[in-house]
Amino acid sequence: MNVKPDPTFHATAQLAMQAPIENFGFTVMLSPDGSDSDGIAIVDLNPTSTSYGQIVHQVIVPTKGDEFHHFGWNACSSSLSPMSGHAFLERRYLIVPGIRSSRIFIIDVKDPLNAKIHKTIEPEEIFSKTGYSRPHTIHCGPEGIYVSTLGGGGEDGTDGPPGIFIMDCETFDIIGRYEMDRGEQEKHYDFWWNLPQDYMVSSEWGLPPQFENGVVAEDLLSNQYGHKIHFWDLRKRKNIQTIDLGENHQMALEIRPAHDPKKSYGFCGVVVDTTNLQGAIFTWWRDDDGNWQAKKTITIDPHPAEPDDLPELLKGFSAVPPLVTDIDLSLDDKYLYVACWGIGEMHQYDVSDPMNPVLAGKVEIGGIVKDTKHPNGKDFAYGPQMVEISRDGKRVYWTNSLYSSWDDQFYPDDEGGQMVMARVGDDGSFALDKEFYIDFPKGYRSHQIRLEGGDCSTDSFCYPNV
């Protein structure tokens, strides 16, 4: 407990952008077949350091087969909420769930070079206290740490719908389920909110049997994956509206609300439209009557391809779908970065007008067919995937793995983990940094990235920009 608020807590997104830049990054190390233990790589991001752009420390957990995926902080700028009047938590612990094992590790990164495991929460505790399994997205918010899950109860996670549970932000005890009235929400993936406006938005991937052993083609072609987004009264814990994006819009994943809490809109990425293989971004907003609306504002076309160049799963289509698997919004709400994992492109959209996004820049790297090399001449396995933007919006980092079993289906010949970075100029120019290229230790793939002091998909701000 601090006497003053943690210096990495900012009242507004604007103030966060002006804060000192990140010195470290934290990136998931995934052993795809569970033969090694997963871990978190601590990456030196201080440009004046001699070990800049290298993994300088690893926290490897003692268990195997956890499958690290997403993770988040114990506390962020949401601590400055005027409702709590108590801003003295430290941004110190990373909450790292295993989506296969349902185990959660609390990693103390106060001293990044000596980061270590602080606490382990065993799966049984999660099962018995929440009835959920396969914890996924972490957000620090009012009352504690919110954790979304992908599975319900039972062996295969289909006994009851998945949802969100709350953890104590100091003791890391699991408090219990979040939902009081889930309405028609039956699947889960991502969630985020607007704290002063008191709403939350959640999305849908699929149930565990639909992803744990790979994508199920029959389910996908019969539109059985998630295609709805849910709007919640955050404090009443009630689903107030569900919008069906249309059943052909399979896998509504990342939810990215505008960072300025005065705004009542945000974005959601859709992996694939089963009618035409397009990837899509929906803009959602609250209209003048207080109802939620959603409209498709970006489409990305598939690329035609020879069946011989395609994995088994895609041969029949003679095309490679963009596969929009992650999106991230810069803190000034200006640029939306869209990872097209299938075609090997990272798109940069100017979303100053959220209803009319404009493609402003593009980086090609990896991809099922193109397999574009990094400007330094080295290989980039798979395609651009988990993307994280620095607070000042000038550096965009990303890694390449989607999910162990899905990597193997879409990229049967690839292996490895890489983390790269693109620079954004003052004029918005967007290009890969030739020098920044991290090859992960052999046997490891990489996934989500978190930046020291917060980034563009962790902090929730409680005061509007001025």
């Binding site: 407990m1 601090n2 006497v3 003053k4 608020p5 210096p7 807590f9 900012h10 009242a11 507004t12 103030l15 400055l80 909420s81 005027p82 409702m83 709590s84 009047g85 108590h86 801003a87 003295f88 009012p142 009352e143 504690g144 100091e170 704290l195 002063p196 406006q197 008191d198 404090r235 809490p261 005065k262 409680c462 005061y463 509007p464 001025v466």
Partner: protein, 213 residues
């Protein structure tokens, strides 16, 4: 007598400057609605909640005024209560998380709950009882109904003066942050007062015990 009223005002300033009593909410209201007008309105709602929290503590004690022969026992009991609350807050350092569950627009309710959970009214109680003590009021030989009217109006006056000074102090700080310093100073002026606050309760209670003896 004058010193006691100054104590009422000082406690108001103290509560007003404590972010835990709500001034950041007034800043946030002004900014979210993009109208400076929203700031005084939020302050008024916070003041209403605080005033009620004070009265809830003071009024029951004002009813006991007719029991002035037990004045000392009542004052000792009240002082012990204040010390106990201070000790509780010192030992149980967990912040009341239910405050975060109040809807952001229900500021008066939030303010009432925040003040009550932190024992803000209790901090005022010894001062009030001292103000109403037979020696101070020289009311030892007044009729019971007159006496009660006196203590009742004193309770309302104490709560009102305290809340007014709290609102002014918090309001000035909120207005400066909103209109002049900017939100950067929001986190800079925000100190963890938990220990100071709990200690204040203990000190006020202990002082009241000494006076009562």
């Amino acid at each position: 007598m004058t010193a006691l009223w100054w104590a009422v005002i000082a406690s108001g300033v103290y509560h007003g400057l404590n972010p835990g009593m709500g001034w950041p909410l007034a800043v946030s209201a002004g900014l979210m609605e993009q109208r400076a007008r929203a700031l005084p309105r939020a302050l008024a709602m916070l003041a209403a909640g605080h005033l009620i929290a004070m009265l809830v503590i003071l009024l029951p004690f004002s009813m006991m005024a007719t029991l002035f022969i037990w004045d000392r026992e009542i004052r000792l009991g009240a002082a012990a209560l204040v010390v106990a609350m201070g000790c509780y807050l010192l030992i149980n350092r967990r912040h009341p998380k239910f405050l975060a569950r109040v809807h952001p627009a229900r500021l008066a309710l939030w303010s009432f709950l925040a003040a009550t959970a932190h024992g803000a009214g209790l901090m005022l109680l010894p001062v009030y009882l001292e103000l109403c003590s037979p020696e101070t009021l020289d009311n030892g030989h007044l009729a019971a109904d007159v006496l009660m009217t006196g203590t009742l109006s004193a309770a309302i006056k104490v709560a009102a003066v305290h809340t007014l000074s709290m609102t002014l102090a918090g309001g000035v700080l909120a207005a400066f942050i909103y209109g002049y310093f900017g939100l950067k100073y929001l986190s800079k002026t925000w100190f963890n007062l938990d220990i100071v606050w709990a200690t204040s309760l203990i000190v006020v209670g202990a002082f009241a015990i000494r006076l009562a003896y």
